[in-house]
C-alpha cells in the first residue's frame, strides 16, 4: 500500500516525539475505570483512591449559573494552592461524572479552562490534587437543554 513519503515522515516524527516523552507520562494510561464510573464517589475512588475532599476557598471555579446549551459549558479553574499535581472536573449528575483531568507538570500554572458537556442541572466540582491531599470547590449549574445526546 502506497502511504506516500509525507505521511511516512510525519508518522516517524510523531513516533519519535512520543518516544521522547518522560517514562512516567508514557507509562501513565488513560484512567478508564475512573472515566467509566457511573457515580461521582466511585469515579473519585478510581482516580484518587478516595472520594473525600476538603472544601477550599483557594479554588476559583468559573461556571455559568445557567447553561443554555448543555453540550458546551465553559468551565475555568484557578487555584492558589501550591504544588498542584492535577485538576479534575466531576459533574455529579452526568451519566459518567468524571469529565476531564488535567495533569499539571511543575512549572505549569494550576489555571485551566475548557468546555464540557452536561446532561442536566447538576453540581459541578473542581477537584485539585496536591501533596497535601484533595481539595475541592463546587458550583450548581442549571442546564436548560441537556448535552449528552442520550
Amino acid at each position: 500500500m502506497h502511504i506516500g513519503r509525507r505521511l511516512f515522515l510525519k508518522g516517524t516524527v510523531a513516533l519519535a516525539t512520543l518516544l521522547t516523552l518522560p517514562r512516567a507520562l508514557l507509562a501513565a494510561v488513560w484512567p478508564a475505570s475512573a472515566f467509566g464510573a457511573t457515580d461521582a464517589s466511585n469515579a473519585m475512588k478510581e482516580l484518587f483512591g478516595t472520594d473525600q475532599t476538603t472544601d477550599s476557598g483557594e479554588i476559583t471555579l468559573g461556571a455559568p449559573e445557567i447553561a443554555e446549551n448543555g453540550a458546551v459549558v465553559p468551565i475555568s479553574i484557578k487555584t492558589s494552592l501550591k504544588n498542584v499535581e492535577s485538576v479534575s472536573i466531576v459533574v455529579e449528575k452526568n451519566p459518567r461524572p468524571l469529565a476531564i483531568s488535567f495533569e499539571i507538570p511543575p512549572g505549569t500554572r494550576p489555571n485551566v479552562a475548557c468546555r464540557i458537556k452536561m446532561g442536566e442541572t447538576s453540581p459541578v466540582m473542581a477537584v485539585v490534587k496536591t501533596p497535601e491531599g484533595l481539595f475541592s470547590a463546587s458550583k450548581d449549574v442549571k442546564v436548560t437543554i441537556g448535552g449528552c445526546g442520550g
Partner: protein, 104 residues
C-alpha cells in the same frame, strides 16, 4: 493532511499563555443517528499532550463529556521566543493529530 489543531500562544516574560482549539466530534456513544436510529459509536479524544521543547507542560485526559471541538487554555512558565510548542492528541479509535508552533 493538514492538522485540525489551532493554537495561539501569548508570551509575557517567561509565561506562555496557550489557547488551543481542535476539531473533533467527541461523540459520546449515546447519540442516535436521526436517519438510521442507530447509536453513533463513541469517538473522542482520550489523551492530549502539550510539550515545550519536548518537555510536557500539560497532559489532559478527556472523557466523552468534553465538548465537541475541544477548547483548552492554560499557562506555563520557563518559556521563551524560539521554543517549539507541540500539541498532540490520540483518540479512542487510535486516530491522532499533532501540530508544532514556534513561540515568538
Amino acid at each position: 493532511m493538514a492538522s485540525k489543531i489551532k493554537v495561539k500562544v501569548k508570551l509575557e516574560g517567561d509565561l506562555a499563555e496557550v489557547k488551543s482549539l481542535m476539531l473533533h466530534p467527541m461523540e459520546t456513544g449515546a447519540r442516535k443517528d436521526p436517519d438510521t436510529g442507530q447509536k453513533i459509536p463513541a469517538h473522542h479524544i482520550t489523551d492530549l499532550t502539550f510539550l515545550n521543547n519536548g518537555e510536557p507542560v500539560m497532559v489532559v485526559r478527556c472523557s466523552t463529556a468534553v465538548a465537541k471541538d475541544p477548547y483548552f487554555s492554560f499557562s506555563f512558565g520557563g518559556a521563551k521566543a524560539g521554543d517549539t510548542l507541540t500539541v498532540q492528541w490520540v483518540d479512542n479509535l487510535g486516530q491522532s493529530d499533532s501540530l508544532e508552533t514556534v513561540l515568538s
